[in-house]
Symmetry: C2
Subunit: 338 residues, 2 copies
């Protein structure tokens, strides 16, 4: 069986079911259009912890536990955890996993973490190395602003190109066999850097990477965009979405009928003052879990392409005048009736 | 074929050859006992760059290129890169990969990166998703001191428990089939935190994780330590090595005949003033590449267990009073005549 498709894609040989997904988010996310769909909306963004960073870890912990519980599994049933976050040295993931004695692969793909995790998790299960993997990603608005831009107390002005880091965590149990929805394949991204330097314009920094992965995906799978009911990038927001539309049109493929971005779906543009939309590792993870997964279960969506997107710079590289590299990982997810 | 062995290990089904390895290091590493064995020793720790961070990325770039070249491959022959480093948001890896259009999985396991990469790379190749993967890890003494402890200009006193972050990068081409040395299996680590808070005593923070992985490995594979000619942890140094000896003895297995640590091998204790030894992502990667790999090729070493070890905290978690979680990933590597 040739599992590799084209130059940078994989078609899984086995049925890989997303047995459960979980989303735990903050108050602002709860007030958005998807508010009623999340597993838990927490009024306290600190979750009783002493720091934003500890709170981010706690969001991740709750999502991991919720996904495990929703799949009617015990922690000991999970063979690997593949998780990532935005904190320096991915401490949210590491600190949560201290209390979960499960073999752990820490990943860093910035906000593409959920896509990278589903890709690696899919390979682990499809390759016969485990029957069940837990994939997760987390982010926190306050922790991210402090780390990447300025502490909130400074009251910095957010430009209109900026996105709002989603506070929360998403998790998914990926299992061999099962009744779907199925992860069918992946297109793993290359790093693309088109020279954007503005840490408040992540959408523009990541859009070229999303387009690169989309082009590779359609080419590798010999598909056109209309194969999918929904194509959703991770956290490009309005600025990045418009760039993706423009760049893909130039490349000759038409996303006008079925393309959106999780950062656009999660917040209300008119009332929530998030400017370009949502972002962060949690953005694609919780939007997928709360909004798209149920539609894949019901069959309302038969085939979707989820493309979590990541901007790979840090505060110091920005200070050193570097541009911001982007990456995007595409995941093919299909309902049982696809 | 049951590829999963025991609770947290994998035995690869296919022969997976380490077709080439490369090591590029700084002057201090070149002055150590392995000096003549590295592919390149760079007198300028800045490599002509403007910052330590950019230099770390350049070390990684050179190691990736050198490994590719030594395997007589073109960049386009590499199907995936799996790489990690110590910088916030793993920027060394991301920034190098901007100029290498290869599907990329960024990993974060701190100094266990080389082990995590060989594990995931092994699964990718053994699982049939690619024929050839490039695995790499990098670190830089000056960049690490600045980020985790204090900028060198402050002239901080290094306690005797501290280790010296290796400046350099190591890389390996892992390929399906071939003539060996072979990566035969892995034991993926769980996170273990025994309460060490001292960022200048990473060896003590990581030793319990190494012992946890060692115990799991021997149990899963039903082996005793004497199965291996060499068992080498990644960067525990003298303090961590002594703890591993003590803790494993308590657990009833005897490492006295064949156990060492890459951080002990890479520097000379008496003349190089590195205190507890070497550390950093590059420590196990370049020590393996320069010192152990040739012995596996010649057959002088038939079977070795390499266990890169990682300390997963950051400066902020230290400031917030957190303890330091550790992780260790074991990789079974055998010569063709094993």
């Amino acid at each position: 069986v040739n599992k590799k498709i084209g130059k940078q894609s994989v078609m899984f040989e086995n049925a890989l079911t997303l047995k459960s997904v979980a989303s735990v988010v903050g108050q602002k996310e709860g007030e958005g259009p998807l508010g009623a769909m999340f597993d838990a909306v927490e009024a306290d963004a600190m979750l009783g912890k002493k720091s934003w960073e500890q709170a981010e870890a706690e969001f991740l912990k709750r999502a991991l536990e919720k996904a495990t519980q929703k799949a009617q599994l015990m922690q000991s049933d999970i063979e690997y955890v593949v998780a990532g976050d935005l904190m320096n040295q991915s401490t949210s993931s590491s600190f949560v996993l201290r209390d979960m004695p499960i073999p752990f692969f820490g990943i860093f793909g910035a906000c593409s973490a959920f896509g990278e995790g589903l890709g690696l998790g899919g390979m682990i299960v499809d390759g016969g190395f485990a029957k069940r993997v837990l994939v997760a990603a987390a982010s926190h608005f306050c922790a991210a602003e402090k780390q990447f831009r300025f502490p909130l107390e400074l009251g910095g002005q957010r430009p209109l190109t900026s996105t709002w880091t989603v506070t929360g965590a998403g998790a998914a149990v990926l299992e061999l066999g099962g009744a779907g929805p199925f992860v069918r394949g992946i297109t793993t991204g290359k790093i693309v850097d088109m020279g954007i330097k503005d840490m408040n314009n992540m959408g523009a920094a990541m859009a070229p990477a999303a387009v690169d992965t989309l082009a590779a995906h359609f080419n590798d799978f010999n598909r056109t965009p209309d194969y999918y009911d929904v194509i959703a990038t991770g956290d490009l927001g309005y600025v990045g979405r418009d760039l993706v539309m423009k760049l893909t049109k130039e490349q000759g493929f038409d996303l006008s009928q079925n393309y959106t971005d999780c950062g656009i779906e999660i917040f209300d543009r008119d009332t929530q003052d998030t400017h370009s939309g949502g972002s962060g590792c949690a953005c694609s993870a919780v939007t997928f879990a709360a909004y798209y997964y149920p539609k894949l279960v019901s069959g309302e969506i038969k085939r979707m392409l989820l493309i979590p997107t990541g901007a790979l710079g840090n505060q110091m590289t920005a200070q050193q005048g570097e541009t911001i590299p982007g990456i995007a990982h595409a995941v093919v997810i299909e309902s049982a009736n696809a």
